[in-house]
């Protein structure tokens, strides 16, 4: 089928609701409204109010009750309406979802997926556009996934829903309806923890995820017109756990690296990539790893958001800097 990311996610949910009787979808407006971005459109009509549950407006309770459900035989897929609204549920995620397996020495577990639209670029009001994935990557016990296209979105969400541990699944808002592509009709999974090398290259490794993958692609296409760099592109897809072997072996080949993230600079995921690259590939590095990031400031209201977000120009500048070093 031809599908944008919203449709691909909807399809993944529908197929999994069909095949796993223990799967329940819950959240604010996920029922008759189909979610404010329509990712759960039509699911309640098809699967009923016991499977697709409109909850009161309380993120901590959505995640907290999901933990209870997950420990007792269900596979909850909780929607948090924007990633900025994960914070009220932060304690439940950190102190419980991420810990119950460890706390109970494996007796209980939390096969929970928390879906949340994230990132900027759609003129949303405040608290709807930031990219705070680092908070969850830093938290032991969680997994974190960010797809960059409809096909990956479907396969990764299916894996997340089947994962025995809690997964925070971020859906880049800017990609939701940005394009459609051919997505397989049947159910399939894309394993968590595996990055995708979407383009081979020898001069430089370009790492990104989510909407920044598209921005990076744009930069690479533009730069290819004049400069003849051979760039290896990695779409990280899973941010926790990270596919380090793919990153390291690429850098061992290229010796140069640029990381692009929408998140603030300080302690965004790029920092960890730079740290590990230094640890493992110090002698392979021909230039310091460059990063293109949001700023250490609040994601602005929409009149300025396109200044905040990394764009192809900034990525190209970083590539040139790495190449020129």
């Amino acid at each position: 089928m031809k599908a944008n990311m919203v449709q691909a996610l909807n399809n993944a949910l529908a197929l999994e609701l069909e095949s796993n009787p223990n799967l329940v979808v819950l959240g604010e407006d996920v029922g008759i409204d189909g979610g404010v971005f329509r990712v759960t459109d039509g699911l309640q009509t098809k699967f009923g109010k016991n499977r697709v549950i409109d909850t009161p407006l309380a993120e901590s309770a959505i995640i907290g009750t999901s933990i209870g459900m997950a420990a007792f035989g269900l596979n909850p897929v909780a929607e948090v309406q924007f990633s900025g609204f994960l914070y009220p549920g932060f304690d439940q995620l950190i102190s419980h979802a991420a810990r119950i397996r460890n706390r109970s020495r494996g007796r209980f577990s939390c096969p929970l997926t928390v879906r949340s639209p994230y990132g900027g670029g759609i003129k949303a009001p405040e608290h709807h556009s930031e990219s705070m994935e680092a908070l969850f990557i830093h938290t032991p016990g969680l997994k974190v996934v960010v797809p960059s296209n409809p096909t990956d979105a479907k396969g990764l969400l299916t894996s997340a829903m089947r994962d025995p541990d809690p997964v925070v699944f971020f859906e880049p808002l800017r990609v939701y309806r940005a394009f459609r592509e051919e997505v397989p009709d049947e159910q399939y999974t894309i394993p968590l923890g595996q990055a995708k090398v979407t383009q081979q290259g020898n001069d430089l490794t370009l790492i990104s995820w989510g909407s920044m993958f598209r921005t990076s692609m744009e930069a690479v296409q533009q730069i290819a017109e004049n400069e003849k760099y051979s760039i290896e592109m990695i779409d990280l897809r899973t941010l926790s756990p990270i596919d380090w072997p793919t990153i390291h072996s690429s850098i061992q080949k290229t010796g140069r690296c640029v990381v692009v993230q929408e998140a603030p600079l300080t302690l965004g995921l790029a920092s960890e990539i730079m740290a590990r690259v230094m640890e493992k590939n110090f002698l392979h590095l021909k230039a310091p790893v460059q990063r293109v990031t949001g700023f250490d400031t609040i994601m602005p209201l929409y009149k300025l958001e396109n200044y905040y977000l990394p764009n192809a120009e900034r990525v190209k500048e970083a590539i040139r800097k790495a190449m020129a070093f």
């Binding site: 407006d29 008759i32 409204d33 189909g34 759609i122 800017r174 939701y176 700023f295 209201l301």
Partner: protein, 373 residues
Amino acid sequence: MPLTKIADFGVSRLSILDENGKADEKLLPKLTNPQFLDLFTWMTLLRIFDDKALKLQRQGRIGTYASSLGQEACTVGSAFALKPQDWTFPTFREHGMFFVRGTPIVKVLQYWGGDERGSQSTSDVNCFPVSIPVGSQPLHAVGCAMAMQLKKKDAIAVGYFGDGGTSEGDTLEAMNFAGVFQAPVILICQNNQYAISEPRSLQTRAQTIAQKAIAFGFEGIQVDGNDVLAVYKATLDAAEKARAGKGPTLLEFFTYRMGDHTTADDSTRYRTKEELEMWRKKDPILRLRMYLMAQGILFPQMEEKIIAECVALVEKGVSDYENMPAPQPSDMFDYLYKEMPPALAEQKRNFLSFLSTQKNNAQPNKTEGPGFP
């Protein structure tokens, strides 16, 4: 001592003007004729503004917008009962409160136009800025009220939230703190029957929102939220009580959101025409209009004049907004800390110098359309 009743509670509802504009004379607040007309004028202004804002959004001149159509009495009536030194803490549906308290229309448009300067408001207007996380704002009102109490100021605080907001732990914690510290605060729930698509019945099993105050040991009252006189009186009474050091009040304004949740919403997905029609009859402006006409306080010519003035004010606001110079990229950095840390200053410098190498400082990203639920 078997099963013994140890406590009793009740919840009341205040209503003054009925749907036909007939007033309960005993409860009628003491207002002068100009004050009655002010209430009418503010509600009219708000409705005209709302209508204009929806058009601006459709034309792409502002972003996602949250209309307060049908709820005019709630914000206008409550703000009208406050003193200038009082502080108000809005969610995102209290434009009426901003106007009544003196905020220029341009500021409200700036906010919805994606320009941070709209949130600065003006320094003589005692409103906290709009903020979006549902349920998180009432705590600020309670904190402000505690500050007023500790500093022995003759000011109270008012925190607004929606029916959906009553489900958030923060709102409930705010009620609890208000009770424990007997803070001079009014907690106002605009119960407009919906949180986006979810009807009130999905938020809580309680028959009323007002009764939530019982859990925290203070008084809660349900008020006909489409009756601006009831809203005004309930707020005034609660404000006097707070000022007298007698603690907080929870006011449930029972009203209805006549429009979509925001311009990003389509309410036909989840509610019926019949329901809308039923509520249309309870229109808060119509109701006050009937009363004022019957009392001879308002008459058609005067109404026309009021409307024309409101239209002009809104148009002025729109042109002020559109003539406003664009916010600067450097604004992103300048207000985070009182003193900018050196490393942040470096980020700013680097970015501005990068921008200066770009054609016309262009923002090369395309933004892909509004999506605010």
